[in-house]
């Protein structure tokens, strides 16, 4: 079949070249990615991982809007220097509700997979407004508008509904809500209920007071709420290190 096939046929036929290129690339995907969906122990069985609350989810959207991922990865690799600097290596389970995940490999700034709880809310606010005010040598840009812009949360329910179609267990019906109570407990399940999304978002921003100003819900509230939850869901003191080894 290939005997009379000439390289020239590909070089002179854009359509054919495109199809052949796609085919060659898809081999990589098929071999490296597809088996992960079949292999039993890809996803670690650990407690605590839950979908983001509406406020955190909006913060995550802003994180993507502002292009924070162009300088920050969220993937701590299992190497000793990373362990010492960033903490426990990231688990697959920890980003199972992330669509799209923020693993990345570009690290102009530090990895953020476990930045939650590392700093105070006040520090994040200062740092995002003007990074050099706390880290004089920083090359991170200023994001002052986050504090000035009221958060648009009118469509947060739709955003959660969209994520629901990708498999994130936000609940739209009473039955789904009951299921979430079983899986995550009542407190978390309430946060995942789409009909209450706006109410929950405002309540969390008010109670958390992330930006230090209770009078309005700003984009800063959402961003800091998101940053503060990163990497905090799994309690590693309850996980045996040798158990995680066996998921590879």
């Amino acid at each position: 079949m290939f005997k009379n096939f000439k390289h020239e046929a590909l070089e002179t036929n854009t359509g054919l070249l495109l199809v052949a290129t796609m085919f060659a690339i898809s081999i990589g995907g098929l071999v490296e990615i597809a088996p992960l969906f079949l292999i039993d122990d890809t996803m670690e069985k650990v407690d605590g991982v839950r979908p983001y609350t509406p406020l955190e989810q909006r913060g995550r959207d802003l994180y993507i809007r502002e292009g924070c991922y162009t300088c920050h990865s969220q993937m701590i690799r299992p190497f000793r220097d990373e362990l010492l600097r960033y903490g426990h290596y990231s688990l697959a389970a920890e980003s199972k509700y992330d669509h799209p995940f923020q693993w990345g490999s570009k690290r102009t700034g530090p990895d953020l997979a476990r930045v939650g709880g590392k700093y105070s809310d006040e520090w994040h606010v200062q740092h995002l407004i003007k990074p050099t005010s706390v880290v004089p040598e920083s090359v991170m840009p200023n994001y002052p508008w986050l504090l000035e812009t009221p958060l648009d949360y009118s469509d947060v329910g739709d955003r959660m509904r969209a994520l629901r179609t990708t498999g994130v267990p936000y609940s739209a019906t009473q039955a789904e809500y009951d299921q979430n109570v079983k899986q995550f407990g009542a407190e978390v399940a309430a946060q995942l209920h789409i009909p209450d999304a706006q109410k929950n978002l405002v309540a969390q921003a008010q109670a958390g007071n992330y930006d230090g100003d209770r009078s309005s819900v700003t984009e800063m509230d959402a961003m800091v709420a998101y940053l503060q939850v990163l990497g905090t869901m799994v309690d590693f003191s309850k996980v045996k290190p040798e158990d995680l080894v066996k998921y590879r």
Partner: protein, 312 residues
């Protein structure tokens, strides 16, 4: 343009070499030279390498599992038993961490067994603390406490002076690092009127020998010790603060929150203290590091921070 068939062209110096048949502008051709021998063999060697690699390391997916390779890594599990698992980066990391811990064990044993003041005077230990502590401090603490622990007035306390809000003993510093701190002072803007806050600010400034209005300060003094303001309740009868709740010592020249040193003139200094009394303090949070840093790392940092500030 391109000819249908590969052909042997004899043009210029390329005589006798096969071409791909492509000819542009009449003379420009694409030679089909064989690859250099070293390259071809290099290619075969990479294939051979892959075969050997498959034998030793995890490789091909098979059904719901994968080929694990014959290579193993040995580590110690939580029950203290040696365990082996097929080679993977997590197992390798676990083994490496344990090996490194064993290597550093003599140091940490020494630190644990020596009283803290002896650690500082042991030159070998001291240089270990200095180098390990410096790196840890830069990664975890300097973003707030700044390089060298110099701090930032109004936000993060200076750790390099001998003034300690929560106490400068090893135990207190360790407690601070492990559990974090969150000092709270209520806002007074609504509880007191402008004049009262002004007298209090004058009194606070008088305590540390800053310029002030003496008669207002006297008024502020009685307010400070009254039930109406109840400042004494947290800052103590002598206004020297209480390390258990981290209320600042108001009688020294060190300012953690009110930017008095940065005030250009007496008015600016007064305004700094007034604003603080009006707004109170609540945003100054020192995060808790328990669980985030290992026991050893906390120990190194405790000694490091203690020495930064000439602890007590």
């Amino acid at each position: 343009m391109a000819n249908e068939q590969a052909q042997t062209q004899t043009h210029g110096s390329g005589g006798g070499v096969q071409t791909t048949g492509h000819v542009w502008d009449g003379t420009l051709q694409e030679f089909n030279n064989p690859l250099p021998v070293w390259w071809t063999y290099g290619f075969y060697i990479t294939i051979l390498f892959a075969l050997v690699y498959w034998f030793f390391y995890p490789s091909w997916p098979v059904g719901t599992s994968f080929l694990k390779g014959v290579n193993t890594v040995t580590y110690v599990n939580q029950d203290g038993q040696e365990e082996s698992w097929h080679w993977n980066t997590r197992a390798k990391l676990l083994g490496e961490v344990q090996a490194a811990k064993a290597e550093q064990k003599p140091w940490f044993d020494k630190i644990a067994s020596l009283p803290y003041d002896k650690i500082a005077t042991d030159p070998e230990l001291n240089s270990f603390i200095q180098s390990a502590g410096k790196a840890l401090f830069a990664d975890n603490c300097a973003a707030c406490h700044q390089t060298g622990g110099a701090g930032k007035i109004g936000h993060y306390p200076n750790l390099a002076d001998d003034n300690w809000i929560y106490g400068g003993t090893f135990d207190k510093i360790r407690e601070t690092i492990l559990g974090g701190r969150h000092g709270y002072m209520p806002p007074y803007a609504e509880a007191l009127d402008k004049g009262q806050v002004d007298t209090l600010a004058n009194y606070v400034l008088s305590l540390s020998g800053e310029p002030h209005d003496a008669s207002k300060a006297a008024e502020g003094k009685s307010l400070f010790h009254s039930h109406a303001a109840a400042c004494y309740y947290c800052h103590g009868d002598n206004a020297q603060g209480r390390t258990d709740i981290g209320s600042a010592n108001l009688t020294d020249k060190v300012w953690v929150w009110a930017d008095v040193p940065g005030g250009q003139d007496a008015n600016a200094k007064l305004a700094a203290v007034r604003n603080l009394i009006n707004a109170g303090l609540n945003r100054g949070v020192m995060p808790a590091w328990e669980g985030r840093l290992s026991e050893e790392q906390v120990k190194v940092l405790t000694v490091y921070v203690h020495e930064l500030g000439g602890g007590k």
